[in-house]
Amino acid sequence: MNDTVSKETMSFALNEASRAAIDREVAKYPEGQAISAVMAGLRIAQEQNGWLSPEAIEAVADYLAIPAMAAMEVATFYNMYDVKPVGRWKIVVCTNLPCALSGGEQAAEYVQEKLGIGFNETTPDGRFTLKEGECMGVCGDAPAIIVNNTRLCSWMSREKIDALLDELK
């Protein structure tokens, strides 16, 4: 999905692929319950735009014919929506206890060291944003990292972290 509207102008319109994807979601719910597709709609808009600007949230709300406030509430409640701009790659490291017992925290320290940033910070070149994650439901794979919400990386040793960060340009 490359026809992203630039962040600078802040205007946003759902492209055709996004609209088709949202239509498929709406069809899952009973008549008159298009609002149930707001979570998927926001995810789809975020994928298109890189983050959920107020304009993107409004576009989803308009498309589903629900109040913008309702979509805004959902966007700010769930952690995986980025309601502020993030780097090209959002790296989330799980540091919850089960992962920490198998190196989750030390993996997070290593990523911080390599990127020279702390949690909730973005590298000056806009390449990476780092976040501390809560349990991802994959504790047996610790240390676990999720890149841009959808790519799970398991057993992230220092060596594998090196390779991952090199790969993400």
Partner: protein, 444 residues
């Protein structure tokens, strides 16, 4: 770490990693025979529910509520929409079993849900899948398409006049949505804030309609029960604890992973399956049922069997079957600090005791961990925890309180040491040594 299969598996039996999740393989393993049996032999909803009751299957999501009994609460003669909802929002720290069911055997869940739909007169279902495991959501949608094409969901299933539609809905990073009424709110497109109960979902659930919510593993157990009978399932486990259960073992063991074993298996046997303690270090403590369950000292745990009743008798909960193993390199104060942070972070903020109390608990444990604790902090902590438990809309309040109370109860001297000496009883280098292995060498 590839095969979760143990000799006693039924839910994860006969799988070959990522290669055999599709419908063709599922049917080769005997898949959809239970749904066929139900529809073609003319089993009645009452007979199905009776079979599930006989199986003594207890909900695998945390509370361990008898599934057959839950199903019998659904209004029988309600003429309008009713829903069956699967809870795959697995986010309880330490739990990663539903992931393997959905990854390696998703049709088992679809079949279980279709049978549940038939038994409770529901023609629509949703599976709510944790957003963090995105590829499983995609896979589940693929599996649904396969099942639809083969005529196992949709209209007039197997020509027997039963209609059942099933869809996937994804979460997007909110632990609280694992709570069943928050999950319903979330499907309705709202913030995931738990509802007051009563009314219970069986009378007022999704879109205000009667709804039954079960965990992924609960639904996954249904086809076997129908195929082999409730009594056979019961006999796999022990009285009042029917069946096998998938345990997610994390922490200081040689082989973290999922292990499906009969309920009632001694804990030492499970520990052995996991390759024993990492580095041969001594077992210190175990949280036997996910982070919300009270912690137990290692020696108490070694005398337990892995079932609801034995773990409850020892003073904790089997919960979701997430076994978090901690060896002697663990600092209990630091461990509690991380858990308390989690509950504070994930409180939905609706109830004052939870919203304020979880923040208070976290800040106090944080203060103790960072050498700023005061001698009366331990009693205050216990007090604050007691004042949250039982006073909130949902069980997250209790879940935040249990770890605090149990960590202090069983490991009080370690907390006192922290307050007095302003540092960990277990030296920091020892702690790091205990958990560093997978940062140094990838496990896979």
């Amino acid at each position: 770490m590839s095969s979760p299969d143990t000799p006693q598996s039924i839910l994860l039996a006969g799988l070959d990693g990522d290669n055999t999740w599709g419908i063709e393989h599922y049917m080769k393993r005997g898949g959809y025979s239970a749904l066929r049996k139900v529809l073609e032999s003319g089993m009645t909803p009452e007979q199905i529910i009776a079979e599930v009751k006989k199986s003594e299957l207890r909900g695998r999501g945390g509370a361990g509520f008898p599934t057959g009994l839950k199903w019998s609460f659904m209004p029988r003669n309600f003429p309008m929409d009713k829903y069956v909802v699967c809870n795959s929002d697995e986010g309880e720290p330490g739990t990663f079993k539903d992931r393997d069911i959905l990854r390696f055997n998703p049709h088992l869940v679809i079949e279980g849900m279709a049978i549940a739909g038939f038994a409770m007169g529901c023609s629509r279902g949703y599976n709510y899948i944790h957003g963090e495991v995105w590829s499983l959501y995609e896979r589940f949608e693929q599996a649904l398409a396969e099942a639809r094409a083969a005529g196992f969901i949709g209209r007039n299933i197997l020509g027997k006049g039963f209609d059942f539609e099933l869809f996937a809905h994804h979460g997007w990073g909110a632990y609280i949505c694992g709570e069943e009424t928050a999950l319903l709110e979330s499907i309705e497109g709202k913030k995931g804030q738990p509802r007051f109960k009563p009314p219970f979902p069986a009378s007022h659930g999704l879109y205000g309609k009667p709804t039954t919510i079960n965990n992924t593993e609960t639904f996954a157990s249904i086809p076997w029960i129908i195929d082999h009978g409730g009594e056979a399932f019961q006999a796999l486990g022990k009285p009042n604890n029917g069946g096998t259960k998938i345990f997610s073992v994390s922490g200081h063991v040689n082989r973290p992973g999922v292990y499906e074993i009969p309920l009632g298996t001694p804990f030492p046997a499970l520990l052995e399956m996991c390759g024993g303690m990492r580095g041969g270090r001594k077992l210190k403590a175990v949280i036997p049922g996910g982070s919300s369950a009270p912690v137990l000292p290692g020696d108490i745990m070694m005398d337990c069997t892995m079932d609801y009743d034995s773990i409850a008798k020892a003073g904790s909960m089997l919960g979701s079957g997430a076994v978090i193993v901690m060896d002697e390199s663990t600092c209990m104060v630091k461990s509690l600090e991380r858990l308390s942070y989690f509950y504070h972070e994930e409180s939905c903020g609706q109830c004052t005791p939870c919203r304020e109390g979880t923040g208070w608990l976290y800040r106090m444990v944080h203060r103790i961990e960072h050498g700023e604790g005061r001698p009366d902090d331990l009693d205050t902590l216990d007090n604050v925890a007691s004042n949250i438990a039982g006073r909130t809309i949902c069980a997250l309040g209790d879940a935040a309180a249990f770890p605090v109370k149990s960590f202090i109860k069983h490991f009080r001297p370690e907390f006192e040491y922290h307050v007095e000496h302003k540092r960990c009883l277990v030296p920091v280098e020892v702690q790091r040594e205990g958990s560093r292995i997978y940062v140094e060498h990838a496990a896979c």
